[in-house]
Structures are given as C-alpha cells and as structure tokens.
C-alpha cells in the first residue's frame, strides 16, 4: 500500500508498486486530464507535479511517491483561474489540446520559480514538451501573458 496526496486529498493505492503514476492517476483515480503520449518520457503529455517539481508520470513509479504531494492539471486551480489557464484561453492556445495539460503543468513549474521568464528561458524550459499541432508560439505568448498579468 502506497499513500500520498493528489490535489490535496489523501489517497492510497494497493496497485503493484512499479505501476507508473500515469495509470494510477488516470485509471485508478479517474483524473484523466493527465495524458498518455509516449510512455517513454519523451513527449511530456503526462507532466504532473510531485512536491512542486514537474515530472513525467509515465516514468515515475507508484513506489516513488510514498508520502509525496502530487498535483495534476485538475488540481492546478479549482476553477481554471490559474494565470496560465486564463492566459491559455486568452491566447486560444490549444488545438487538439491533448498535450496541453502537460504543457501547462510544465509552464506552471517555470513561473512558480521564475515569475518573469525571458523568451529563451521559456523555450529552454518547455523544449521537452511536444505539441504536434504546433502551438508553440502561442504557448510562449500565453506564458508571457501570464507572467505579465499574473
């Protein structure tokens, strides 16, 4: 049995300890905003926070999150009010949308640590997250907007 918190709620799981956190949050806990993209830590679609750090849920085993705080896109804000979520809507960023939970969670890590990132810092930070619809320039615009408007 592994105990941890997800979006502020205490949970425990008796799944196999090697189960990727991705399937724990998606299938066992029903938090499907976190997406399966590659299963190999290559695309970033499954990005969640563990104790505030962005990690790839597909590369994180259940055993590694004992006692930790997991935040998924559903827990970023209760009502889509996080500055990034507002900026994502204002800039009409998502197209297919499938990678965007991961993009937002990765960007949230950045602006928490560095509220006013430069364009090149944004690019460096976000380079591991693939968007196949090519919304990259709108992602940059939205991160800049969020850092401007707070």
């Amino acid at each position: 049995m592994v105990s941890f918190t997800v979006n502020g709620k205490a949970v425990s799981s008796d799944a196999d300890r090697t189960t990727p956190l991705l399937w724990i949050v998606r299938d066992h806990l029903g938090l499907t905003g976190t997406k399966y993209g590659c299963g190999a830590g290559l695309c970033g679609a499954c990005t969640v926070h563990v104790d505030g750090t962005a990690v790839r849920a597909c590369q994180t085993q259940l055993s590694e999150i004992e006692g930790k705080k997991v935040t998924t896109i559903e827990g970023l804000s209760p009502d889509s009010s996080h500055p990034l979520q507002k900026a994502w809507i204002a800039e009409q960023v998502p197209q297919c949308g499938y990678c965007q939970s991961g993009q937002i969670m990765k960007a949230a890590e950045l602006i928490a640590a560095k509220p006013k990132p430069t364009r090149s810092e944004i690019i460096e930070h976000m380079d591991g997250n693939i968007c196949r619809c090519g919304t990259y320039h709108r992602i940059i615009a939205a991160v800049e907007r969020a850092s401007r408007e707070g």
Binding site: A15, Y36, T72, C96, S101, R132, G134, Y136
Partner: protein, 719 residues
C-alpha cells in the same frame, strides 16, 4: 452557388432520428404554416436536422465538425447561427450523430459523407449549413407573422429575435419555440436570399473556440478518457512486419499473468485484455509470437527508393497512369530553346498525432456503442458493424475529441479491433495502442521519386512540362501534382505505380508535400538559370493565374522580398496549394555549415481561402500547418529495413520542438468574397521548396531529398 436539399421533406430527412412527430404539408412558398393543432411542436424539436430551440432561448446546433484541433466544431455552427440570426451566446453545440444520410456533406455523385479530411469541413458544409440556417430563420419568421397576423415579408430578425419594424414588436426565438410549429416541408431558400457578406455578424469575426476551456483544465473528453462500468483494458501487439498475421504465441504463460482476462488473435496482431491497462502492457511485453509471412518481408525502403524506383522511372515500358495531358509536349520539347530535368525524392512519414490510437466499445445484446475520436464517424460505424457482422443501424458512435488526426483517424481500423475484443470478453473494452505500435503499425505518407522536365521557348517562357511520380499509394502520390495555377500550354503528368504492402495513407497534405517541393524547386532552378527574380519568373515565365499573382504579390510585400537580408541569411519562395486554397510562402533561413542544421527564422504566408469564417482559428490552422510542414521537412523520416520499421518512438522519430520554432510567423488571408476553401493544410506543402530554394541562394546547392536532415545537408554541401 449550388443549393441542396430545398425540396427534401423534413419528415424524410429526420425519419429514424426518433422522438419527433410530423404532420401534413404547407403552401408552396414554404412560408404559410398549417394550423397549430396539426403542426409539429417547435419547442426542443429539430427544426432542421441541425437546429433545435428551447423555450428558454437556448439554441442547440449540431456540429459535424469532428474536432481534432482545427476548430470546426465551433466554426460550422457559426455558419448556421449566422444565417438564422441566432444570438451566439445562447448557442450550445452538440456533436451530430454518425448518420451520413442526414449529416453528411454532399460529395461527388451526390453521395453523402461525414469524413472530415483534407481540411475541407468548412468548404463542404458551408452552403448546406447556410441553407439550413436560412430555413430556420424563415420558419421562425413565419410563426411570428402568424402570431401577429402580419405579412412575413415585412418582418426582420436581429440576433435571437424576430422584429416587426412597423410597430417595434419583438419575439425572442425562445418565445417562438414555446408556441411555434414546424412545417413538414421546410421553406425553400433561394441562394439570393442568403445574407450578403456585409451583413455577416458572426462570420469573419473571431469567436472563441468552444472546446478550449475544457482543454486547459483536463475536462475535455477524448476517447482515451472514457470510463464505463465494468470496463476492462486492452492493447495489441501488432506484427513487426506489416501484413503478417500471428500464427501462435505463448498463450498459457501470458494468460497466467496478473489481471489478464483474455488474449485474442486479431487480423494484424495479438490482442490482450486485462483488468488494468498496465497489466495488459506487461502481458504485451511478455508475448512471444510466431508471425506468418508477409509481402513486406525483407523490404528495404532506402534500396527500393534509390534502386527500384529509379529503374521504374527510367523504364520506357513501365505502365503509367496519365493524370494530365495538355497540348503537345513532344513538340514543345523538340522546339525548346532550353530544357531542364531534375529528380526529387521523399521518405515515408508518420502522423505522430499526440493521442495514440484508441477506442472504447460496449456491446449490450444487439446494441453496439463506440466511443472514438474519429475523422470519419460514418466509416468507423461501418467498420465496426462489418467486424461484428451486425447491421450498421445497431452501432452508435459517440464522437470524442481527437488528440490530433492528420488523416490517420479516418479508417475505423482500431475501433474494429476494439469491437472484436469487446465481443470476445463480453465486457466494455478500452483499447489503447502503445506509441510504438502506433508508429510501427502506422499508415505512412508514401515515399516517392519525382522526375520533372521543363521546356523553355526562345522568349524565356515555360511552354513544356513533364512530371512523373513513382511510388506506392495511388492518389496519395498524386495529390498536388497538377499545376492549374500556372498556364503552361503543353503538359504531361503521370504516375507509375508499384506495390509493396507497406501501409500508406493520407497525411496532412500527403502528395502535395512531395509534389509541390518538386514543382517549386524546378521552377526556382529555371528562374535562377534565367537570372530572373523567382517571384517575377512565376508571374511572367510561368504565367501565374490572377489568383496566384494576388498571393505572390501579397507575400512579396509581407516579407519585403527584395530587401537585403543579414549576412548568412537568405529567402526562398514557393507557392502552396491544397483543397482549393492557394497560397504563397517565403522563409528566411540560415545554415550551420559545421553541423548541417538548417534554421528557419521567419515565415510569411499569404493565403486565399475564400471567405474566412473564423479568422483566428483559420490563422491557427495555417500556423499549425507551417509547423507540421517544418517538422516534416527538417526531421521526419520512417525507414524500413528487413521489412520492419526502424523507428520506435519520439527518440528516433523526431518531431519539431519549441527550440526549432521560427522567431516570426506571419499569416495573412487576402480579402476575397468567394466560398471558403480548406485551410488546415495550406501551411504545409510550401515549406520544402521554400527552404530548398533559400538554401540554394545561400550555398549554390540544391536539396533534392526530403527530409533535409543534417546528414543530407552535409552530403549536399560536399557534393
């Protein structure tokens, strides 16, 4: 303008949709309503198949715009709302049922289809949806006229209201729905009665996409996210060589693994069903399968392209399908002042949509339900019905958002696999392909070899044009091969088909990618040789049509085409064309000569897409196409060796990331009043030639093989 459906009775159209009662008909002009007691009640009923109005004023508009990020789920209802003069804030959107006889667009031979492919949703639905909206407006007006005992012709509409200008009386659409009736035969609408462009209130204004809020908080539902009571999870191990069937596998060992519910032989692989997905994945890893023989055994894509295709191209007796024949090319080439010949190649490419293929199927008695994000709900419905051996009428498709489509999600192949497994285990099944299967069992944009020849007369005009493409994939090879935007009098264009058994399919722009790369590289070669500016050459020596001239001149202005660039930078131009849209694009590049890496700094595209329904979404589509094009041209390459795909995931099938993003992208639509045309792929086909032409300006060398990987660039520089 073609106007459809005016005479089809509403009863006939809606028959079988259920929950509706119908009545006898109306006057010939369609404006006279029957007595209320006999009419179909309007409240919450489908006035046309596309529109329902509730007494509280909520207007429900059905959308056939399968949403894969292009925004047509929102854009198509805007067209209906425009003509019916709905208050957009009161419109809610529902996905249309997978019934192509009602919700299909009219295609060739009066067939109806629902496939959202080729970026044609707006183009193909535009007229039908305008008509439908106008019919709803007429029904609303007729009801108000009857209520007020006035002539319908004296009434007008404002968003959400019918108004009587004579006395200022107003009835909201909700109020009308509460008492109104719907005639059995809908009023006819003449094309002349549709709104003038100057009167558009919604079309041409940027409306926020309705799918976006759910895509920033994790609530948007993809098929991947569907969970049903008692549902189990499945995955498939597909044959490592496409076309091979599983013969036997370590079934006993795999079935003993934790959570495994069943294994199943599928046409193209071994299916595994388990309680949890991670258990199905573990069992998939443990599978040891003996595969049967396949036509693809031993296939070597590089060798086939470089040896076999070259031989076919050179063989005067090879069988060919003629795609275009104009004038007398033999004569034009015989009399030419100068002739040119060049070859171009491109590799297989994979869709790499972010959401791996998946579906959910529940079978309950004779009722089959499918949840899928599909570009073609009608195709999925029939594929599932066929796989299960049941009539299509028993299959309901629940359309979900698609995590990318790009052509791949229009076959129903994985939905059929899911249905077979749901039938085998008697429980709802969610099937998820792994990324590795999604790639190795992909359906690729085909590789091809292009041979082009051109003849120039004494005045410098291009008067002869020959283009031959060799490859496997029929139409996939030759979309975009014709050049109707240039007036070259003598043309001969052909395809020489070969067949390998490697799965090939539509891909964003598909044949346009390789064909426009070849065509526009060839044009640039002639322009350089003649010492004429490449845009000028297209206008005068290639006799560009007025439509092309417009976008070429626009992009020249946007990019300040003739202005000098910084040292180490160069511009290249290419036309773009797809789904009746035409464009011209310019890129500014630099090159790292040590690594062979091309960097694209700026991109400009001028597009003619007709009337732009949703300007911001249209721009987003073109921007997306540009990035997809850049990714394809600079990175993407599927190779097969010994019959097997050599790439496995995003580590070795690399796609564009943020660090490759051009610093600037400028997209502009020229202002025209013609019917909308497809924009989702217009950004993609020009990138190859534009980059190759800029590369020539920088280096004096020609890139002739897509993609332009650093290794190929270095080899080109050395050659």
């Amino acid at each position: 303008m073609t106007v459809h459906d005016t005479q089809i009775s509403r009863r006939a159209v809606l028959a079988g949709l259920g929950g509706l009662t119908f009545c006898a008909a109306i006057g010939a002009d369609g404006l006279q309503l029957i007595a209320e007691a006999q009419g179909a009640t309007m409240a919450n009923a489908q006035i046309t198949p596309w529109v329902r109005i509730a007494p509280d004023g909520t207007v429900t508009i059905f959308s056939a715009g399968a949403e894969m990020g292009q925004g047509s789920m929102t854009g198509l209802p805007i067209i209906v709302a425009e003509e019916m003069d709905a208050d957009w804030s009161k419109v809610r959107i529902e996905m249309a049922p997978a019934d192509k006889s009602v919700y299909g667009y009219t295609f060739a031979n009066n067939q109806r289809m629902m496939q959202i492919v080729g970026s044609r949703a707006t183009q193909l639905y535009f007229n039908d949806l305008r008509m439908s909206g106008a019919q709803v407006r007429k029904v609303l007006i007729a009801n108000a006229a009857q209520k007020w005992s006035v002539d319908a012709a004296t009434l007008k509409t404002e968003p959400g209201f019918v108004v009587n200008p004579a006395n200022g009386a107003r009835l909201s659409y909700g109020e009308i729905a509460a008492f109104g009736t719907i005639p059995d035969t809908l009023p006819t609408v003449d094309a002349k009665e549709l709104k003038a462009r100057k009167d558009f209130r919604l079309i041409g204004q940027a409306q926020p996409r309705r799918d976006i809020p759910g895509k920033v908080n994790g609530t948007a539902q993809y098929a991947m996210d569907v969970k049903l009571p008692g549902m189990v999870y499945a995955t498939v191990l597909h044959a490592p060589v496409q076309g091979a069937e599983p013969e036997s596998w370590n079934d006993d060992a795999v079935k003993k693994m934790p959570g495994v519910v069943a294994t199943l032989k599928l046409p193209a692989g071994v299916g595994i069903v388990a309680t949890h997905f991670e258990q199905a994945m573990a069992a998939r890893e443990a599978l040891k399968v003996t595969w049967g023989k396949s036509k693809v055994d031993g296939f070597d894509s590089e060798k086939v392209l470089d040896v076999d295709y070259v031989r076919v191209a050179a063989d005067p007796n090879a069988s060919a399908t003629v795609l275009e024949k104009k004038g007398d090319t033999a004569d034009a080439f015989a009399k030419a002042a100068k002739t040119y010949k060049a070859e171009f190649r491109n590799d297989y490419a994979y869709h790499a949509q972010m959401e791996p293929l998946n579906a959910v199927v529940r079978i309950d008695g004779d009722k089959v339900e499918l949840w899928e994000g599909t570009q073609a709900p009608d195709e999925s419905r029939s594929a599932v019905a066929k796989a299960l051996g049941v009539p299509e009428a028993q299959v309901t498709v629940n359309q979900c958002y698609m995590g990318g489509g790009f052509g791949r999600r229009s076959l129903g192949d994985y939905a059929s696999e899911c249905a077979l497994m749901a039938k085998a285990v008697g429980k709802p099944v969610k099937l998820i392909w792994t990324r590795e299967d999604d790639l190795a069992h992909g359906r690729f944009r085909p590789q091809s070899l292009q041979t082009l020849e051109a003849a120039v007369d004494g005045s410098g005009k291009v008067v002869g044009w020959k283009h031959s493409v060799v490859g496997d994939g029929s139409i996939l090879l030759h979309t975009g091969i014709k050049i109707p935007y240039y007036d070259v009098p003598n043309q001969y264009i052909e395809r020489r088909g070969v067949a390998h058994g490697v799965q090939v399919f539509f891909w964003r722009g598909v044949g346009h990618i390789s064909n426009i790369f070849a065509i526009e590289s060839m044009v640039d070669r002639m322009a350089a040789d003649a010492g004429v500016d490449p845009i000028e050459f297209r206008l005068t020596r290639m006799a560009a049509t007025p439509k092309l001239r417009n976008v070429l001149e626009t992009v020249a202005q946007m990019s300040d085409w003739k202005a000098p660039r910084p040292e180490g930078r160069a511009l290249g131009v290419s036309i773009s064309e797809r789904s009746n849209s035409l464009g011209a694009g310019v890129v500014e590049i630099s090159l790292d000569k040590a690594s062979g890496k091309i960097r694209v700094h700026k991109v400009w595209l001028a597009g003619d897409g007709g009337i732009i329904v949703q300007p911001d979404a249209a721009r987003a589509n073109v921007e997306s196409g540009i990035i997809y094009g850049l990714s394809g041209v600079l990175h993407e390459r599927v190779t097969l060796k010994d019959g097997m795909v050599e790439q496995s995931n995003f580590n070795d099938y690399t796609v564009m990331r943020m660090s490759d993003l051009p610093e600037e992208m400028h997209v502009k639509f020229v202002d025209v009043a013609t019917r909308p045309t497809g924009l989702g792929e217009l950004g993609t086909p020009f990138i190859g030639a534009a980059i190759a032409n800029a590369f020539f300006k920088l280096t004096g060398k020609r890139l002739v093989h897509l993609p332009f990987t650093p290794e190929r660039v270095l080899a080109t520089l050395k050659a």
